[in-house]
Symmetry: C5
Subunit: 319 residues, 5 copies
Amino acid sequence: MAITNEVKKILDYYESDNPGTKSNLARILMHGKLAGTGKMVILPVDQGFEHGPVCSFASNPHGYDPHYHYKLAIDAGLNAYAAPLGMLEAGAYSFAGAIPTILKVNSSNSLARDKKSPSQAITGSVNDALRLGCSAIGFTIYPGSDSQFEMMGQMREIAEEAKAVGLAVVIWSYPRGGDLSKESETAIDISSYAAHIAALAGAHIIKIKPPKAAILREPERKLYEKNNIPISTLSDRVRHLMQSSFNGRRIVLFSGGDAKGVEGLMEEIHSLYKGGANGSIIGRNTFQRSRDEAMLMLDQIINIYKGNSIKYLCQQKST
Amino acid sequence: MAITNEVKKILDYYESDNPGTKSNLARILMHGKLAGTGKMVILPVDQGFEHGPVCSFASNPHGYDPHYHYKLAIDAGLNAYAAPLGMLEAGAYSFAGAIPTILKVNSSNSLARDKKSPSQAITGSVNDALRLGCSAIGFTIYPGSDSQFEMMGQMREIAEEAKAVGLAVVIWSYPRGGDLSKESETAIDISSYAAHIAALAGAHIIKIKPPKAAILREPERKLYEKNNIPISTLSDRVRHLMQSSFNGRRIVLFSGGDAKGVEGLMEEIHSLYKGGANGSIIGRNTFQRSRDEAMLMLDQIINIYKGNSIKYLCQQKST
Amino acid sequence: MAITNEVKKILDYYESDNPGTKSNLARILMHGKLAGTGKMVILPVDQGFEHGPVCSFASNPHGYDPHYHYKLAIDAGLNAYAAPLGMLEAGAYSFAGAIPTILKVNSSNSLARDKKSPSQAITGSVNDALRLGCSAIGFTIYPGSDSQFEMMGQMREIAEEAKAVGLAVVIWSYPRGGDLSKESETAIDISSYAAHIAALAGAHIIKIKPPKAAILREPERKLYEKNNIPISTLSDRVRHLMQSSFNGRRIVLFSGGDAKGVEGLMEEIHSLYKGGANGSIIGRNTFQRSRDEAMLMLDQIINIYKGNSIKYLCQQKST
Amino acid sequence: MAITNEVKKILDYYESDNPGTKSNLARILMHGKLAGTGKMVILPVDQGFEHGPVCSFASNPHGYDPHYHYKLAIDAGLNAYAAPLGMLEAGAYSFAGAIPTILKVNSSNSLARDKKSPSQAITGSVNDALRLGCSAIGFTIYPGSDSQFEMMGQMREIAEEAKAVGLAVVIWSYPRGGDLSKESETAIDISSYAAHIAALAGAHIIKIKPPKAAILREPERKLYEKNNIPISTLSDRVRHLMQSSFNGRRIVLFSGGDAKGVEGLMEEIHSLYKGGANGSIIGRNTFQRSRDEAMLMLDQIINIYKGNSIKYLCQQKST
Amino acid sequence: MAITNEVKKILDYYESDNPGTKSNLARILMHGKLAGTGKMVILPVDQGFEHGPVCSFASNPHGYDPHYHYKLAIDAGLNAYAAPLGMLEAGAYSFAGAIPTILKVNSSNSLARDKKSPSQAITGSVNDALRLGCSAIGFTIYPGSDSQFEMMGQMREIAEEAKAVGLAVVIWSYPRGGDLSKESETAIDISSYAAHIAALAGAHIIKIKPPKAAILREPERKLYEKNNIPISTLSDRVRHLMQSSFNGRRIVLFSGGDAKGVEGLMEEIHSLYKGGANGSIIGRNTFQRSRDEAMLMLDQIINIYKGNSIKYLCQQKST
């Protein structure tokens, strides 16, 4: 399938990248059921690192097996599969070339107890990504953490190296630590700041959480009001985040958040879609369901990103 | 246009630099409406990193788009455009060669909470500057911060590398942290110290804030009085800062400060000009206005630096 | 002896490794009395570093001599011998090629007093492992320590280097420090998390302690109950740990723990075997006994891992 | 002028240095009015970095211009000129080859507030020294500071690199920080320790402050008394410091200290000379006077180091 | 003189070393009056760094001159001379090839005030050792210090580099810091642990202090009693330390401790000899005496290590 105009337009946004990186972005954008639409759905399985195997896989023990996730992402027609080093190593040969992969190169875990200066361990490298045939590396930064400058510095080094060898760079930008409360992490002013930082830091793809309508800081509140920036619906807020990400010149993906009911999730995805999001990175909501449920759910999500009506989805569900 | 005598004289001040660096300084000095005058006006757009996208662009949403700033700087005939990595990457191809660019290689953000040891994240490299076709790198140091020695050490490494490959080095020298209060950051004794440190550290171009008449330290106060150093007007103080920057052998630029009325700004620029400043780096005051207003304002600033009378400006405004 | 199907199956799990690393894994799996079974028993002698020479060797002073351990491991038909740098250097020529060796590249000691942020000194390198003819390097991480991210980062660098030159990577994953009490270090939820982290971090072989039935954290407790995960017997728990280690796709070995009676140890090993463990790393229980006792004990352990019945063992003991 | 015997003798003390470093030491020793005497007077202008431009140059504003100092050092017939990076860069072409230069590669400033762990920023490199045509690099260590080991480690790295490329190494050894009071920094036991540390650390030239007769530590006091080490006059103390610096096998220079009257300074220099000092590094006392006064003063100092009588100096003064 | 069987036996213990390192060990073992005996006496002069020049050399001012120590070590027929960088540089040409030298590559000083986390500055490198013609590098570690892991990591890097270029590695293993009191630093359980750590860390030669009969820790005390490990005499304890150092497979040298009477020292040396020590590293006791006294004393020490009777020594003294 030739590169579509939608994808071509997105690739053109990455004005400074070499053909290698553009090719890898294209590989992700041209893979799976959303190939060519400019939208993407990615399966990330770093939950085991972040929260432990029991919290991640107890409800669907197939998930203990790294092959399960590769297969699910492939069979569901997703755009890419993202995971930490060992998870990719364990299926690198069986699924070589079957789906674009993203090596998550840093990871935290829930045993860490620093709340003001949260950070992550570096767990992978650009060389690892190359030898595993990955299309991109993924890195988490915590804007607001007392360790944020160090994390950004690590990210910068790895990103420069990645771009030089033709890989794409995905930044998970999660405000955390310092003076930020749990609630303020998803406040709209903080979320848009996090997205903007990721864009400025040179991300090709930005992953953030769906933002809430709360505003943490007073000066920002006044600006939202004074300039009539609509933030009451999720679609409004997504539109604002896309704008904060170089006015749409960067791919922005949203996390699926806590495991929740399919309908709630579909509504959320639909709002993301309406707001102009490039897609979703859905982890827990996928692998904590049975494979059948997950396949159906992912198909519905994909259909939303294809622009099909909610009605279609309901019909499908009743089939 | 051949290198003018004014520019030649400035280039001669940089006695240790290789032809590559001199060429890049010349590129900046010979570009735009001030080409050849030895003066320069630069557009910096690092505000989004430092204060967030809403604080930066809400009042003029065109600013969310990186192309807007490139275009504004080019159309206004400025000497150069300075921004962090992602901002330059997003327009590197569309505006290749259209205006000299300066890669800001470190950045802070307003989520950081350390007041005694403020620092910044390294967000760009000399290699990035080269691959993006930049003429210079920019680095912020915080003299007085408990992290100042580390920041200066980082700056030194990057500056050595930059000079070796023919780039120019711009130092943002902003006193901050440690025992410094907000007010003392712009005290004349502290400002002149900050400028002098930047010069000693090997800057080609020094960016500081317009200094106030306050004096923080007693020994310095006595010296100002004893030696009759005039500091009552802004022009006096600028003259003193130029002197503190190797007696005029280094290019010193002043920030525009908070967004303010055009007339207040013009008066300030005029004082800078009379004091012998090499020019201004004007961010917020530019992109937080409409494009038309910004274009007019920049033209007026340029005219001041061309040595045209205030009267001319008023005529222009009424046109 | 040709590579057996059991070993072939295990090697196939390591999908991303080069032939060098696979060869070294094969060397370990095809050596000694358990050659070809897919099981392994390894002698580690890092006890002297961790607890001091008197605590380690006073009860059997032959152990002060590095050659003693090499010889014991070889004569007992173990799969490999693991020790810190000096210990291997002292017998590297006498026993060259006689048994696969594992260079332990970091070590702590009982003089260290940090309980919240325990760490280890780096005491060996990949180059050391190569010049000593080792098949693998071993690295300890302390999930939960305030130093855990730094330790994981060190491990990552060494592991990447090791894999590139065809060595295998063994991770000792011992939860410790931070908010973890002594008891919680072996709680089943924490143990499974530690094993999973080691797998995700890219270990070929994971060494953990036999887990207890305790559960440290409430959310995990609910998940164990809700999903009916059996953890009441050691075999149950081992099965759960194997699952948490990529569902059996990674070799998991268990430490022998404190010196104890042979029968207690045999029961424990038998439980490990029944739970699907790949084998044991037995230090103190080996060299703190007389050579004759140790040889008999290791033979019994090996027989358990060969799948022989307990009855056989009793017969053997009474012989 | 051929290398004199006095210089030859000194060069022979540097038994491990390559011809490049010996040549650079010779260049300094064979330059200016003291050429060939084995004595030296050096102009250092790092005062602006350490204390700010106003404190340094307000009393003689010519000093704001980097060329002023180069010219003064050359015209006064000094042996060398020492300054931080920017200061040397600003005159590197105009004065190329006119006088040996020493690049000061680390610097502090008076905005730093750490009293227990004082340190300095690295502000120059060996490569900088080479590209600027310098004969030596200069590095400050603070024996006693809680940062002293880190500073010494930085110094060691730079010194090794400098020696390898034929540069000489000057160490400013200033006890400071930790438990040291301001007074104890120049106590004779601490001064001799500082000089000895610099010698052991591999300095070619050691710069210290003129020591006071005070003794900080009791064990040392007893040793001074028991062994009848004379320390009552400055000459005595200088003799003791030369002894502590490898018994005269290392060049030791003394700082001029606070700006003071010419006669007080001459007396001090005369005492240094009588004690066997190799010379002086005179900063503030030079550039904080008018050029004429400074030229006369430096001529007098040089005459003292030439061994001329005080009487001669008085005659000269009255001329 | 051909390599003796005694030396050959020792060299064979170093099973992993290249011919370069073995040659350098042989050079030390085959030099001086103890050549070929397998015993060695080394002169270390790092006292000036550790305690200052006055404390070190006031009682015998010849010691201020670096040549004095070289000459003393050579004339006394010692095996090697160990000192920090500057000390060796100052005699590297005059005494090139005259005696094996050991470059001490890290050093502390008595101005440092950290009692819990004592450390040392890195003051020399493997490259320094090579250019100075040294046979070995020496490194101090402080087991028990809160900085111990960092120190061991530094040591490891330098040791790997040293071994690769054929140098020998001497580790000064001095328990210090953390929870250790002054007394416990020489407790027998701590001393044996320190020796064992040095051996495990890859030392060719281990330097420790003569241990006291005290036992710091309860579990160890029980083990000493239960296993009837004799520690009442110094010879017993030395025997135990040799055992803890790979059962005699590593060269272990003992420091001379505080300056003391000759007879007390001889008794101590005799006990060391009887316990199987490989020799002594004697600093203060040497250079704080007159040369004649030192020469006689060293000759007596050498005779003890040659196995001559105490009686012989007494005769010699009365001569």
